[in-house]
Every structure is written in structure tokens, then in C-alpha cells.
């Protein structure tokens, strides 16, 4: 069908009205078994994103942290055969869907992306698995293998090691001090009883945030199962994090690198947290001055502000190439940010920031992920995009001024931060095993997006 120009506008209007799942109202409420739900319909691809978030330290609830415990427990539940039905991962795969598990210092997320017409059965399966978790020996065995593989792949990334060192340096205790992944060899040493106890406590309906986005109807929430009898009521409280004045860390690795991290504003200080999101975008987005210097130096540079409960963390990692040149460029840029940006440059940067913010939350899975993150951190109304231009996040962006940003940078980054310097221990191993990266030919849509990497998180 080819329409003439005269009909174009009408056709566009009509097209806008079709398939408008976004016309369904957003809905928040309380699940039958406790916990909360958030429904944010959007139209687009015919998919439903279903995210189940829990506030739970990845390293466990006991006095002795167990790195990777949360990830292992969540994976073991997904791999276990429930009393009825098939293991969740297999079930989702048969739907043609995708499933991922993310573990952060203070939260765990299980995310499904399924065709929209299978959303109800997927919600049932997800809540059946995690509201009354069953953990079998076979499931735990498969989970140990999967987590060990993930950990081994992560260990190939120099930036991951730098990040772990930064957190360990900046925090004296609390969930953020402990890496969210176990050492591959340590996975087998985590006792089954420890995993079961963690799953029982963390994966309770009352501790859950269920987020639905995509082509979803608010009535789908009814598909969530109630949960189990005897589960503890109420949600977990944030565990305290204790920062220290960190000492610089020097270490060796496969290539040169560095890392810097500072304790930033808590999520409750929304204006300052937004300022740090803006700063991270300004400094580290592709095409920015610091990023270009790093690219020219052959250095992989990544920086972000992570909006944790208290404190947030402003973190930079860099590896490869002439990392010293990248570090010098970053240092210069951070000094310059103590002075207000010129108004025109500030407006350009803000415009680019808002675009990237919205671009990083344009699909159902990313939207569900964003809401889950901010909800478990206790600030769902501050989720970027919530309420559109009149929402709290975008109003905070609009309220930023060059002077405020400069003041905020000085207030937090003048404090002592963590610093890691990595010296290459040996020439790059040309024959070292190198896993394949994702191809990106024209015809291959991107794989499931990583839950990390959202600029405003």
C-alpha cells in the first residue's frame, strides 16, 4: 500500500492508534503474596518483558560473605525441576524466549523476554519457580557448571578485575565490598544447604518486585502465583555499606590499566545523583573527548555512576593500550569539571544525555530492568522515563545547571577515592584462548541486551 502525501498524516495518526498497548494505563500495586508489581505497557515489538527483582545481598545474609551466592542460588532455582512442569530456563527456551539472571551487590534480578501472547504462562512459571523455590541436586549441579563458566568468561575481562578491586578498596564492609561473581574454582565449595537457605530467604514473594513491560495488559498480574505458606513477611532492608579512606592499589594483569572510584550521592539525593549520571554520560559516552583520547590510545575506557541505595558509586575502569594517556586525559577532564561548563556546551551535553538516556530504555526489557532496579533501591518514582517530561528524573535533568554540576563534582570527587593501577605482567598472550565475540553483520539483530550499561543507573 502506497499512500499519497495527502493521506500520509491521516495514516500516521491511524497507525499511532493501532496496537496501542501504551494506551493501557501504568499500574502499580501489591502482589497477592506480598511484594509489589509495576506494569508499564508500551507498543513496539510483540514481546513481554517480565522481571522479578529481589533486594538481597549477592554475597548472602550471614556474617561471612560468600561471593556469588546469590547468582548461584538464582541459577540453581532456574535449573531445577519443579514439582510440576519443566525447569524455568528450559520452559522459556521452548517459548523462544530469553532468560537472564543478574546479580548486583544488593539485588538479584531474573528477567524473561517472551512473545507477548505467552506472557501469562511465563509469569506463572516465573513465580512458581521463585515464590516457592525448589532446588534439586541436578539443578544445583547444572547451576554450578553454568556459574563457573560465566565466572571464567568474566575473568578474561581485565576491567572486571579492576572493578572488583575498586569496590574492595572503597568499602570496608557491606555487600558492595564483595564481588558478585565467585572465583570459578570456588563455585563447587558453596554448600548446597547454604544455597537452599539463601533461596528460602531471598526469593520470598514479600521481598519481590515484579515488573511487566512491553505489549502487556495490567490484568496479567493475576497470573502471578501467590507463593508459599510460611514464608517470612516483609521485604529485606538495605544492608549498611561502610566506606573507608582507600589506599592506592597496585597490581599486575595481562595488560596495563587503571581504575578510579568514589562514593557518590545516595539515591535519595536525586538531584545530585542525576548530576552524576550526567557527568558520567558527558565524560564517557562514545564520541566524548575523554573517550576519543582513550580510543586513540588503544585503551578500553568505561565509566558510570551506579545509583545504589547509599552511597552511589562513580566508577571508571580502563585497560589496554596507552592507559597512562587515557588516565591523563581523564584527570584533566575531571579537573575541568570543577568549573561550570559554558552554557552552550552544557545544553548540547544535556540534549545528548537525554537522548542517550531514552535510547538506553527504548525496549521493553530495558524498561522493565530500569523499573526493577530503582524499585528495589526504594525509588521507583525516580526511574528515568517514569512520568515522561514531568517525571522526577527528567525534571531533575531539566533542573541541572552548570554551576550545580561543578559544585557537585567538587563535593564528592574532592574526597579520597579508590585507585587501582595495573601493570602488564607479560606481553599480551597471542595464543591465549580467546572466545568469540558476538558478530554484528547487518542481518544479525543484537543479542539480548545486558542489564548493565544503562547510563542512569
Amino acid at each position: 500500500m502506497v499512500l499519497g502525501a495527502a493521506l500520509a498524516s491521516a495514516a500516521l495518526t491511524l497507525s499511532s492508534a493501532l496496537g496501542s498497548f501504551a494506551d493501557a494505563p501504568p499500574l502499580d500495586g501489591t502482589l497477592a503474596g506480598g511484594g509489589t508489581y509495576i506494569v508499564r505497557p508500551i507498543s513496539g515489538a510483540p514481546v513481554a518483558a517480565i522481571s522479578l527483582w529481589y533486594r538481597a545481598s549477592s554475597s548472602g545474609f550471614g556474617p561471612t560473605p560468600v561471593p556469588g551466592l546469590g547468582r548461584l542460588a538464582a541459577t540453581a532455582v532456574a535449573a531445577s525441576q519443579p514439582i510440576t512442569g519443566t525447569p524455568l530456563g528450559t520452559f522459556v527456551s521452548r517459548l523462544g524466549g530469553r532468560m537472564s539472571i543478574s546479580a548486583y551487590p544488593e539485588s538479584i534480578a531474573i528477567s524473561l523476554l517472551v512473545p507477548a501472547d505467552r506472557a501469562a504462562v511465563a509469569i506463572q512459571a516465573l513465580t512458581r519457580s521463585y515464590f516457592a523455590p525448589v532446588l534439586t541436586d541436578g539443578g544445583l549441579t547444572n547451576a554450578r557448571r553454568a556459574v563457573a563458566e560465566e565466572s571464567a568468561i568474566r575473568a578474561l575481562s581485565p576491567d572486571s578485575a579492576i572493578s572488583d578491586d575498586l569496590y574492595a578498596s572503597l568499602f570496608a564492609s557491606g555487600p558492595a565490598e564483595v564481588p558478585p561473581f565467585p572465583a570459578p574454582a570456588a563455585v563447587g565449595a558453596i554448600a548446597a544447604d547454604t544455597v537452599r537457605a539463601y533461596a528460602e530467604r531471598a526469593f520470598r514473594p514479600a521481598n519481590a518486585v515484579l515488573v511487566l513491560s512491553g505489549e502487556v495488559d495490567p490484568t496479567l498480574v493475576r497470573s502471578a502465583l501467590t507463593g508459599r505458606e510460611g514464608a517470612l513477611p516483609g521485604a529485606e532492608s538495605p544492608l549498611p555499606e561502610h566506606t573507608v579512606v582507600p589506599a592506592p592499589v597496585s597490581t599486575t594483569g595481562t595488560e596495563n590499566g587503571f581504575g578510579l572510584a568514589w562514593a557518590g550521592p545516595p539515591i535519595a539525593d536525586e538531584t545530585a545523583a542525576t548530576a552524576f549520571d550526567f557527568i558520567a554520560d558527558y565524560l564517557f559516552a562514545e564520541g566524548g573527548a575523554v573517550q576519543r583520547t582513550a580510543e586513540a590510545a588503544g585503551t578500553s575506557l568505561d565509566g558510570t555512576f551506579v545509583t545504589y541505595h547509599n552511597p552511589g558509586v562513580f566508577i571508571v575502569t580502563a585497560s589496554g593500550g596507552n592507559a597512562a594517556a587515557a588516565r591523563a586525559a581523564l584527570t584533566t577532564a575531571l579537573v575541568a569539571l570543577r568549573k561550570p561548563l559554558p552554557p552552550a556546551a552544557f545544553e548540547r551535553a544535556r540534549r545528548a544525555f537525554v537522548y542517550r538516556l531514552l535510547s538506553h530504555s527504548e525496549t521493553a526489557d530495558l524498561i522493565a530492568d530500569d523499573y526493577g532496579w530503582y524499585a528495589v533501591e526504594g525509588a521507583s518514582a525516580y526511574t528515568p522515563g517514569e512520568g515522561g517530561a514531568e517525571g522526577r528524573y527528567l525534571r531533575a535533568v531539566a533542573a541541572l545547571t552548570p554551576a550545580y554540576v561543578a559544585t557537585t563534582v567538587a563535593a564528592y570527587l574532592d574526597r579520597p577515592g579508590a585507585s587501582v593501577t595495573v601493570a602488564a605482567a607479560a606481553p599480551p598472550a597471542a595464543t591465549a584462548p580467546r572466545p568469540s565475540a558476538s558478530p554484528s553483520p547487518a542481518s544479525v539483530p543484537s543479542p539480548a541486551p545486558s542489564p548493565k550499561g544503562t547510563p542512569a543507573r
Binding site: V2, A5, A6, A8, S9, A10, A11, L12, T13, L14, S16, A17, L18, S20, I42, S43, G44, A45, P46, V47, T75, A78, G89, R94, L95, G96, G97, S100, P115, N142, A146, R348, V354, Y355, L358, S359, E362, G385, G388, A389, E390, L394, R395, A398, A430, T431, P433, R434, P435, S436, A437, S438, P439, P441, A442, S443, V444, P445, S446, P447
Partner: protein, 430 residues
Amino acid sequence: MIVPVLLAAIVALAPAPSTPAPAPAAGAPVSLDLGPGTLYATSDAGAQLTGITLVVSAGTSREPARKNGLAALAAQSLLLSRIDGVSLTDRVTADGGSIDVVVGPSAVRFTIEALPAQMGAVSADIARAFANPAIPVDTVDAARAVVSTEVGQAEQNPTTVGLDMVRGAYYEGGAAHPLLGTAESIAELTSADVSAFIAAHYLRGNAFASATGVIDAGTSAGVRAVLTAFPAGSEAPPAIAVRAIGTDGKRIVTHRDIGVPFVMLGFAAPALGDADFAPMLVLRAILGDITNRADVTTASPIERGFDIVYTYDVKPATFDIAINGALLDPSAGLTIVQAIAHNALTKPFTDDVVKRYKDTARGQWALEALTLDDRAWQVGAAVTEGADPATAETVIAAIDRVTPADLQRVAKRYLQHSIVALVLPRDERQ
């Protein structure tokens, strides 16, 4: 203040015509004749950005012999064109958007995304860049540096190396070229080559656009401005010829700085608009399930022993299976794939099996294109192949109609013979 303007209402404001437009299916693109070209628009309620894919028939199949990399270098040179002293990419970023390019055998596609209120500024910048095909030497050199870096990265990735090998063995002419060229070929291209390529192929009749997300009057005005910037003219679509994949079992071998062997099996395959496309998607679901059965969660490509890459935006298409030697013994992987293919050829699938994998294939297709860019690209791929722009919307229904006989017929037609490309660790003694 910017932000309140950025998220303005998206409904088009033009008065209703006396004759209502025919109602398109939900999610289906509407074809709009803008004068200088066609825009295929799919509007999403609730979207906050506009995504546009500008498709230009200037892919590698247009490259002359010995000029491999010209399509990529020309496209990158346009991205780096300077407007009032600033590159197009930087201008678009400052406007509140992004622009990038993907090179394919049939076409290049420029992926443009922007805040709706900024689409006017973004499209004006793009139009200015495309209106001037004479690219200065320094711009071409900057583009060459970018493309060379990407070529170097692609050379380190055994998947892209393997795909290039399959493409080189299967297609003829420019379509057989590596998509980005090689370090050597890029180095030899001149600014005159680039300007001549742009002048020859960046023609109004060679271009169209598809858009998703926020679609309003500004979208069509912006696309019209960009298409108007192209000089008048058109060419016949490039004819993409292929070589028969033989039965000789010949293997292509190359060496790279990798630690483990990597195998790419390349099969001929139906393209997006082909009647066999839906059965091939069901076969993809079967192969994907059997080869990755042990996964607890959905593994990323880096974590898979097998990865399937279905390059269906080229006609004829290829269906490629990558076996990652870091995670799976390549010989065992080859045996598994050959056993599955043999089974599909010799023994009809039962109704139960077909039903199960049709379910999986339906779901995989629903998840195939999620972003504005990917969805706009799907429409563009269909149009490039000469198929209905709404083809992607009809695939799920086509999957529902697949029968066991269809699967066996398609397996016989496409899975009997394959190109075997081996990417092996470089022997340090060489």
C-alpha cells in the same frame, strides 16, 4: 528548557482527509510516497524516540573489482563529512541523536535515531552532508582510519572471519567481498574513488527510508529533506549471483591469532521474503535447541559452543553455524550438526516435534527485532529484496502453517551441502 519539549505529544496534527486511509494491520508499516522517495513508517504508541533507517543501494555488490572496502569507506566518509567545521556524527550527537552505518552486500543502511523534537535539525545536517558528494582527502583519511580499526577488530573475531569466508566462497562479484574490506584494500582507495562511488550510487532512486517509534509530520518532513538531498537518478538493483555449494566437502582454511580452532558451516538459505523462510526458522529452532540444550539461562554468543547466524537480508541468503572451539570440540560439533541435518533429510519430523519447535520459532521471531533500528531494518530488508514491506509481520502466521513435509523439503533443499570454513590458530613457526 529542553526536556519538556523533547517529550512532546506524538500524534500527527494534520486535518483528517475526506476519504479515510485504509487501515493497516497493527504493527504493519505504512508506505508514504514523499515525492523524492518512499518512507515506510511504523508508529509505536508510547515511544519516546524516532528511529529511521536510510537504505541506499550502495553495498559491496556495487564495488568494482579490486576496490574492496569502497562501500564502507564511502559511507564512513559521509558520516565524517564536515558541516561548518564539525563532522556529521558530532553534529547529530549535539542535536540529540545518533547516526551510524552498517554495510551489507545489497545496501548500506544508515541508522538514525533522535529525539522527535530534534528530527528537523538532525535531518537538515544529514541532508547537507549527503548533498555534497565531493569528499576532501582529509575526511577520507579520517574515515579510512575508522574503517581500518574496524577491520582490525573484525580480523580478531573468528565469527566475522568465518562469515567473510563463507560469503567469499558462496557469492560472486562484489557481494563476495569482506564487508569492510581488508587492511590492504582500504589503504589503496583514494578520495577520488570515494567521490566517484558516491556520485555513482548515492542516487535518489537508489534510496528509501523506514521509520519506527514516534512518527509525526516532522518525521516525514525530515526524511523528505534527506531524500531530496540525493541527486536524481537510479540504477537497476544489483544482481547477486552465487556459486553452487558442492558435494566435494572442500574446506577453506585461514589462520588468525586465536587460541583454539573455530569452524563456520555455511549453508544456502531462503531470504526473508521467500516461501521457505518460515520452515527454515523452524529448522533454526531445532538446531539451536539441540546444540545448546544444556544452557540454564539464555547464553550470550560468547558463551555458546554453537551459534547460528542467519543472514536473511541478502537474497540469496546464508545460514551459518559457528562452532566455537573454546567451548566445544570442533570435530564433535561438526558431527552433531551433520547428524541433525542427516536426520532432517531422511526421517520426517513427527507432528509433536514440529508443533514444539514451531512454538519456539514463533517466539524467537517475536524477539528477533526489538530496537527501533532493528525493526526499521527488517522493513528495509524486505523492501530491498523486493518483498512486501510488511513481510516481517506475516512470518509468525507463516510459521504456524509449516508442516513436517515442509521441513523435510527445506532441509533437503538447503542443508545437504555446506561450505566448511576453518579459522585455525596461527602456527607460530610460520
